[in-house]
């Protein structure tokens, strides 16, 4: 029996905030996250006393195990609902879905969902890469020298073999997101690049070259969620959660059922069904872009194009302005910022801004329904959220 008690239209994002991102030396993960949180409160026009929930991810450059509790103390708030989530890159979407569920159920009224880290200046590059590599299994994966890039790279090789996807097509993703970043204030990389630049950059883990890989950054972002009843009491146009879905298909990359079709299929299907929309209804997307080929596979699994056709889809300009689904209009993790777990929070702040209609020269015209898909750990973890303006309810 279908559960009719869904999130649709019951919770809204009423505040967003970002710390400076990119290279931000001398600021701890908690300092950056507090900065983003206070900006989100100011954006909403809300006092921190109105927050009764705090959800965060963890920070590699911080020693706190309970980052959400440490952040609450740092801001001197005492929430009655708090958790520090860890599902790798999917933490952002999972945290938004979980916060919405908590609000629907009455566990909390108003939840701060925030995350920040200083991967670039708070750690050495060796430590940052090793910290991320530590997320692989110590017995069956790590001894073979498997970096984070490697699991995703192996899925890309399969995609190339099975569907004829080319390095040029993957490079186009990096080129497009760089164009987007060039119009985004605060983006870490804004110099335009060509497909040849991507193909000439150093090999990292084949088939991925340096410019196929996301950045390493500092930065934090925060969202404030509250119930639909209260959503219009604040400064900004509320952006509603229309649907959420998640899927966790495996832990080890060698137990991934099919290297070219991921749990994003199930995660998105659930979110679309709850929202009552199809991929054709989505006006703007934020898609976790740890690597270029990751985006190709997600365009297929999220239903924006058919399986195996994402290469030509991207070459045809379908993920930028005027195309089927303008994606990562801020520049994504490939060009805007990638501070680790917080990276996907920026996909949320950008899609919310697009739906508010606040994006200036990078505004997607008449954007009413948006999608954010976050994922992690070699496609192990997936979280999809469909967002919409009040007019879509």
């Amino acid at each position: 029996m279908r559960n009719k008690n869904t999130l649709r239209g019951k919770v809204a994002i009423v505040g967003i905030g970002q710390s400076p991102s990119g290279r931000v030396p001398g600021r701890s993960p908690l300092d950056l996250t507090a900065d983003a949180s206070l900006k989100a409160l100011a954006d909403a026009g809300m006092d921190k006393s109105q927050l009764d929930g705090v959800l965060t991810g963890n920070a590699y450059a911080s020693s706190f195990h309970r980052f959400s509790v440490a952040l609450s103390e740092y801001l001197n708030i005492q929430p009655s609902y708090s958790n520090t989530l860890q599902v790798s890159g999917a933490t952002a979407g999972a945290a938004v879905n979980t916060a919405a569920a908590a609000i629907c159920s009455g566990l909390a009224d108003t939840v701060l969902v925030a995350c920040g880290d200083s991967l670039l200046t708070g750690m050495t590059p060796d430590l940052a890469i090793r910290a991320m590599t530590e997320s692989r299994d110590q017995q069956y994966e790590m001894p073979f020298g498997i970096p984070v890039a490697n699991t995703f790279a192996m899925t890309a090789h399969r995609h190339m073999k099975e569907f004829g996807t080319t390095s040029e097509q993957m490079a186009q993703v990096a080129v497009t997101f760089r164009q987007h970043a060039s119009r985004t204030p605060g983006a870490q990389k804004t110099d335009l690049i060509s497909i040849d630049d991507v193909l000439a950059s150093k090999m990292v883990s084949s088939p991925y070259r340096k410019l196929d890989c996301s950045l390493i950054s500092d930065g934090a972002a925060a969202l404030i969620l509250t119930s639909a009843e209260k959503a219009y009491e604040y400064n900004q146009e509320p952006i509603f959660i229309l649907g959420g879905g998640e899927y966790y298909s495996h832990e080890h990359i060698f137990l991934m059922p099919n290297l070219t079709e991921t749990g994003a299929v199930q995660s998105a299907q659930k979110a679309y069904q709850m929202a009552g929309v199809s991929p054709l209804d989505i006006d703007v997307a934020g898609i976790y872009d740890c690597f270029t080929g990751t985006v190709l596979m997600m365009l297929e699994d999220l239903g924006f194009c058919k399986k195996g056709e994402a290469g030509p889809f991207v070459e045809a300009g379908e993920i930028t302005y005027g195309g089927c689904i303008p994606t990562n209009t801020h520049g994504g993790m490939l060009s805007y910022a990638h501070p680790g777990i917080p990276a996907a929070w920026f996909h949320f702040t950008e899609v919310v801004r697009q739906l508010r209609g606040n994006c200036g020269e990078r505004q997607v015209k008449d954007a009413e329904v948006g999608l954010v898909h976050t994922l992690g750990a070699g496609f192990s973890t997936h979280a999809t959220t469909v967002l919409g303006k009040g007019s879509t309810l």
């Binding site: 195990h65 069956y140 020298g145 090789h157 150093k202």
Partner: protein, 146 residues
């Protein structure tokens, strides 16, 4: 979160056997890759668990793998994940599909990547890391030798 130090990045991560996996790491010392066969449903699994992943039966028996497989996918690492692997690059990480069915992560022995491709046949060899640790690695099978 555990704060890593520079010291941690110099050390290669080594497997620490647990109660589930002890037999497998012991088998590798003798040059055998043990797979778990379920006596109830016939499922063959890697890695080692206390129960069958398909039917949850605890009637699992260890049998040595043939060591033959094909490359399901791979990636050649050029940018090492920290100092521990800096002297090893470039090296190939393999996703091998064993003849018995399960897939596993492993490394390619050697640095000749000319014939490295999806579906290439490979054969297992153990590599001694220390008295306690032998890793299962693979080499490309030269088809001309067959």
């Amino acid at each position: 979160m555990k704060q890593l130090t520079e010291e941690d990045t110099i050390q290669k991560p080594l497997p620490i056997a647990d109660s589930d996996s002890h037999a497998m790491w012991e088998g590798l010392k003798k040059g055998e890759l043990l797979l778990q066969h379920c006596e109830d449903c016939g499922h063959v699994q890697y890695y080692q668990q206390g129960l069958c992943r398909i039917c949850q039966s605890k009637k699992l028996v260890h049998r040595a793998a043939s060591g033959r497989g094909i490359i399901h996918s791979y990636s050649v690492v050029h940018r090492s994940p920290g100092p521990a692997f800096r002297d090893d690059v470039p090296y190939a990480v393999l996703l091998v599909e064993l003849e018995e069915g399960p897939r596993m992560i492993s490394s390619l022995l050697g640095k000749d990547f000319t014939h490295l491709a999806i579906d290439s046949p490979v054969a297992m060899k153990t590599m001694k890391i220390s008295e306690q640790v032998f890793l299962p690695c693979f080499e490309l099978v030269n088809l001309a030798d067959k």
